[in-house]
């Protein structure tokens, strides 16, 4: 084993311990914030969101990881650049050094993709702030107790060296995983330069299981879900715009994603990766403290393709 691998193994064991050791359950705080449109109000909204979560990031390296998928600025397929910029500004005001990084899963021209999605236009100095995670420097990280069939993964240094990874997905249905939210968004940290486009190794090792493994690897993880306009139907690529009018945030990705599912009227217990990562307790409403809007007050039915209708949360 090379020194680099060894160090990563040690780090991973430590992280895995943080992610899995039984500990007294604390309530996970999740904030649902109403946001009707991509307007300049979002900048103030994100300042208030971060303040409410009491994030201490002064002097820390924060990496924002949006979801970039397609060359369709007019569609709702990508995380909106205004939300990313507002989050970047809010973290900077808290004293953090902020970078943006993404490794799209199937389109290769990441910078062209970001340009088409409006990132260059909206975020000053975007190219200097951005790292294409598909082709970043990589090291192999061993999975101490994998849920998937993987024993190790090559992962990008930009993410491994961050103090706080902020997953910023679009709120979308997903034809294989059911829903793609802050946890599934971490597929984007797996380097296409090593595994290809798409990152088919994750499919063969089990999509839900790999999401759970990535969750274990990145416990220092904050979530900001772009649900202002999401996507329903045959997501994550061929679906339809679905306005939900919310930004969902929190330190516990399982709780954030379970809350998003409730907003989307999807039963979180039927999403494989949520139960693998959080168990029934991690997604239980009683263990999630809503510090913003109540999920029921903003719930909106995300249409599901026929193959996923069993995921529907039915009201009793």
């Amino acid at each position: 084993m090379r020194r680099r691998d060894f160090l990563m193994t040690a780090a991973t064991l430590g992280l895995a311990g943080c992610g899995r050791a039984p500990a007294p359950r604390r309530l996970s705080q999740v904030k649902i914030t109403r946001a009707a449109a991509y307007s300049h109000d979002i900048y103030d909204t994100m300042r208030r969101v971060l303040a409410e979560h009491n994030l201490r990031v002064r002097g820390r390296r924060v990496v924002l990881k949006p979801n970039l998928v397609e060359f369709e600025p007019e569609s709702t397929i990508n995380t909106h650049p205004m939300l990313v910029h507002a989050t970047l500004e809010a973290f900077r005001e808290l004293g953090a050094t902020v970078a943006i990084a993404e490794g799209p899963g199937h389109r290769r021209g990441t910078l062209d993709l970001a340009d088409a999605a409006g990132y260059f236009k909206l975020i000053p100095g975007f190219e200097d702030l951005f790292t294409d995670l598909n082709v970043d420097e990589v090291s192999r990280v061993h999975l101490a107790r994998p849920v998937s069939r993987l024993n190790s993964l090559y992962l990008p240094h930009t993410v491994l060296a961050s103090d706080l990874l902020v997953s910023m997905p679009k709120m979308k249905t997903h034809h294989w995983a059911g829903a793609t939210l802050s946890m599934k968004n971490l597929f984007g940290v797996v380097p296409g330069g090593v595994y290809g486009w798409p990152k088919n190794v994750l499919h063969w090792a089990g999509i839900h299981q790999c999401v759970a493994d990535l969750h274990t690897l990145f416990p220092r993880h904050f979530s900001v879900v772009d649900g202002i306009v999401g996507m329903d139907g045959n997501g994550p690529i061929q679906g339809r715009p679905k306005p939900a009018g919310v930004i969902v945030s929190g330190r516990d990705p399982v709780a954030v994603d379970a809350t998003c599912c409730r907003i989307m009227q999807i039963e979180p217990a039927r999403i494989g990766y949520l139960t693998l990562a959080g168990g029934s307790e991690g997604i239980a409403e009683k263990n999630i403290q809503q510090i913003g809007e109540n999920p029921d007050s903003v719930a909106t039915r995300f249409e599901l393709i026929a193959e996923l209708r069993e995921l529907r949360k039915e009201k009793s």
């Binding site: 060359f71 294409d132 034809h175 330069g193 290809g196 088919n200 499919h203 063969w204």
Partner: protein, 290 residues
């Protein structure tokens, strides 16, 4: 032939001290290094530090004959096909022959007997026949369009140099894979044409690559694909997409007169290299085919 000297200078400036090229910035990777070398070959211009680049590549070959995407990765992958596109004398005939052997030994997992049986039992669907077989991005996974196209192009060059029944058979299986994955609109997605019963979208890059890899086969069946490539070329939003479309259309002598040219260097080394390769192909020398 008009060569974009300024762009070649950009490429030279991006070369790392170790001889390889990065994708954008940072350490050297196999794919941009091969594409940069192919760009110099296409421009019939010597790479300023070509010896260092070839030495970097030669030293990166693994004992199994394949190449990793990057030194810190210990697994041979699809990039071996890219290295095999280089002339054998550049990296050494023996190294090249071992790369081709590695390539000939690889298939996507869908071709394995166990997976074929699983597909029949679990999904109730007939798998591809034994005469359909592509290449994966990473061993142990399924075949996809891009690595299959690169495998075909590499083996076809070998076949031109030294024809063999084995090469012809493997190329034929891979071309059958591409034909079986063509989308309803005539183009190519990254992998399948359908998922969960839904038609999938075609993409410019993969459509251009597939046209290039299918050059010389059944042109009468590719009319719709070429029409789609023309449309993609008018609407393209990535320089790599434009380059692959031009290369694919040129391989079928179907690049329309007045097709949009490149207006700016690519943002990455592969983008810039592909642009130069496509320009050279427009002037009669296609390094993927000739």
């Amino acid at each position: 032939m008009e060569i974009h000297n300024g762009v070649l200078d950009n490429l030279a400036a991006a070369q790392n001290p170790d001889g390889g090229w990065p994708y954008h910035k940072g350490g050297s990777w196999t794919e941009p290094t091969v594409l940069a070398l192919l760009a110099y070959q296409a421009g019939r211009a010597p790479a300023p530090r070509g010896g260092a680049a070839l030495a970097w590549l030669a030293n990166a070959q693994r004992p199994d004959g394949g190449w990793t995407p990057r030194r810190s990765v210990d697994q041979s992958t699809w990039v071996t096909a890219l290295v095999a596109l280089l002339p054998p004398e550049s990296i050494g005939a023996e190294r090249h022959a071992r790369a081709v052997e590695w390539l000939l030994a690889q298939t996507g997992m869908e071709a394995s007997p166990w997976i074929r049986l699983r597909d029949v039992v679990r999904d109730g669907r007939l798998p591809d026949g034994p005469d359909v077989s592509g290449w994966s991005w990473f061993p142990g996974t399924a075949s996809w369009v891009t690595p299959t196209c690169m495998g075909i192009l590499a083996l076809r060059k070998c076949q031109q140099r030294r024809p063999s029944a084995g090469l012809r058979e493997r190329i034929g299986k891979a071309q059958a894979f591409l034909r079986s994955r063509r989308c309803a609109d005539g183009g190519w997605n990254h992998g399948s044409a359908r998922a969960l019963g839904y038609e999938l979208n075609s993409y410019p890059e993969t459509t251009g690559q597939a046209l290039l890899a299918l050059a010389g086969t059944e042109p009468e069946k590719l009319h719709e694909s070429i029409e789609l490539a023309h449309r993609f070329l008018r609407e393209h939003r990535s320089s790599a997409g434009a380059a692959w479309l031009r290369l694919g259309l040129l391989a079928h002598q179907q690049l329309p007169a007045g097709a949009p040219s490149f207006s700016a260097p690519g943002r990455t080394v592969p983008d810039t290299a592909l642009m130069l390769i496509a320009e050279a192909a427009h002037h009669g020398y296609n390094v993927f085919v000739d």
